[in-house]
Amino acid sequence: MTPWECLTFEWFGALFSDERILNGIWNSILVGFGTVILSVSMGLAGALMLTQIWPKLRATYYTVIIAPILIPGVVLGISTLVFWDRINRMLGLGADSFLSNGLFLTIIGQSTFIASYCMLVLVARLQRYDIALTEAALDLGATHAQAFRKVLLPFMKPAIASAAVLAFLASFENYNTTTFTFGEYPTLTIELAQKVRYGITPAISALAFIIVVLTVFAALANEANLRRKELVAKARKEATVEELSSGRIRMPGFLSSNWAAVALVVVACATVVVVGTATVYSPQQCIADVQEQKRLETEERINELRRQRDLRRQQQQEAEQGNAAEPNQSQPTGNNSGFGNVFAPSALSGEEEEASEAEEAPSGNNSGFGNVFDPGSLNSGQDN
């Protein structure tokens, strides 16, 4: 029998009404943006430094700047906490100061190593940069700041975008550094970890589904955009001077020879269909059917077991009358291990408990999945 019965969308509802998860997502996004800003700017500074540092120092500098990637996140988390706590105390601030704020500490802590990732991405692009471009800008009268803003930054833009995405994702999924620094701002990963300790609900799967869909969306949109740019560049290259200057150049359509755009549209349609179905579809009838079926099955089984027990009791009585039998009263019903009663010392002693277990079957499931797949949990949901 599969654990799935009845299509339902109610766990999305459960997800969006879970305050802690929502709060976690919000905190994760806050931390993510903070980390993106901090680590991309630190990474860019580090990358610029690497290309301009005295060549003899370059290897040493590179090792130092890349080291945070190799240090375990746990160490970074503890270090961040201890370091800023010291500073906090040195400045004579209280426990509620900005420096001991969970948001601040998490952003700082994550940025220590995410900045190194960003630097690697940015260095790759920076190595293709011709320093003569900056010199040309200076020569034409630009200040250093103008040369940086108008020439270097536009050149670095694609790498900065990828570094930002990388930083956001790394921040979003980070657990082991955040776990020491989050304070009053638990991120999504922290909330999930805390929830999983008490068993997970399908709401988590709903969240996973949403994240996967969003990721696929973003990836396809990006790919479609890239392909479109390529096509436009090709069209421009083939265009004549007249077409270019008149602005009447024929650009390729959005969907033409662009599989990523087609896939994007397909996924979008599928999502719209799913959401539409979710708002219209009601699983009540199916749930009622399943419950009815389950009830009948259970009843039948109980009857069957009852019959067997009666039979056995008769036999036992007959036997007791023959020999003075020892009463078998050990009842280890409190077994909560995931292995059921397999290792219970009395598991081999008799089938009697089986009957009692069967009677309380709907509530006695202590498997690692909690009550997730128990049809009875649907029942309680309905009651609510």
Partner: protein, 370 residues
Amino acid sequence: MSAGVGVDLENLWIRFGDFVAVRDANVNINGGDFFSFLGPSGCGKTTILRAVSGFLEPSDGRVLIGGNNMKGIGPNKRPTALIFQNLALFPLMKIWENITFSMEIRGASAKERRKRADELLDMIALPGQGDKLPSELSGGQRQRVAIARALCAEPDVLLLDEPLSALDLKLRQHMRTELREIQQRVGITFIYITHDQGEALTMSDNIAVMKAGVIDQIADGKTIYNDPSTAFAASFVGENNVFRGKVKRVMGNEALIETNRSGDLVARISSANQGRMKEGEDAMMFIRPEAFTLAPEGASGDHFVTAKVNHEEFEGNAFNIFMEGEGGKELKVSIPNLGQSFEDHTGQNITLEYETNNAVCVPAGELAAE
């Protein structure tokens, strides 16, 4: 246009650690001149250019532009514009944005910039190409865009760092004329860096020949070609045949050189060295391939050279004869093709004659590497 702004280098030294890139350079460049620095790669000519444009501070000495000392003034404050060897067009900007970058810095409106860009595009014969990206243009077009971009900044001095070296031969020759025309039209000072003596000779008003950080000679093209002051200048600019020897006798402006292979030959002493050549000193004399004529067999004297012919070739406008020369180097002779009959001399000894005025002698020195 004004007479242009001059550039002076006074006792300019540039050192990188122990390495001396430029040694005591003294150059006066007149306003409105087309001035070239000519030398083999690594001789320090780009270093001089960077010192003029402000990317490099001199270790010693001064750079003056229009009489003003440029010490401590950054490249963005100097009245110079540099055209880079690789052009350094901004790859992400359209052509018109590239050209008017200096106006954007000054805060000009997009409309003004567009107008100026169109004017400059007309001047460099690329009308209507303003909306393209640099990568969509050919090498020669990019070259012209780089010039337009530099001119848009309205510099007093335009610096060009081997801008034609990336172009193919035909385009290079075309751009030479074009550059010279642009220079005459705008009337500003051009300082041009090259290792190609053809470029330097055809375009420049004055040329400085450089060797390993030292300026050997500063003069106009004709003087450098006909009256070199050092062995390096004589061997680097144009083709030249060298004869090594000792000064046997000095006779006013002429000297009799006792050459190692070809006997005693007479030559004019180059004007920079007159009065400085002493009897018995090592000397070098140079005769251009085209300065020789075929002499009747058996002729001898102090302006005849006899040698064995290794091989010959026909170049269209000239017959080239390659003869056994000094130190493994061949002696080259070019006889202009004027329709005369020309027989093969390979393997024979032939005698050549030259006019004393066409042979020049200088004190022995380092020759340019081939």
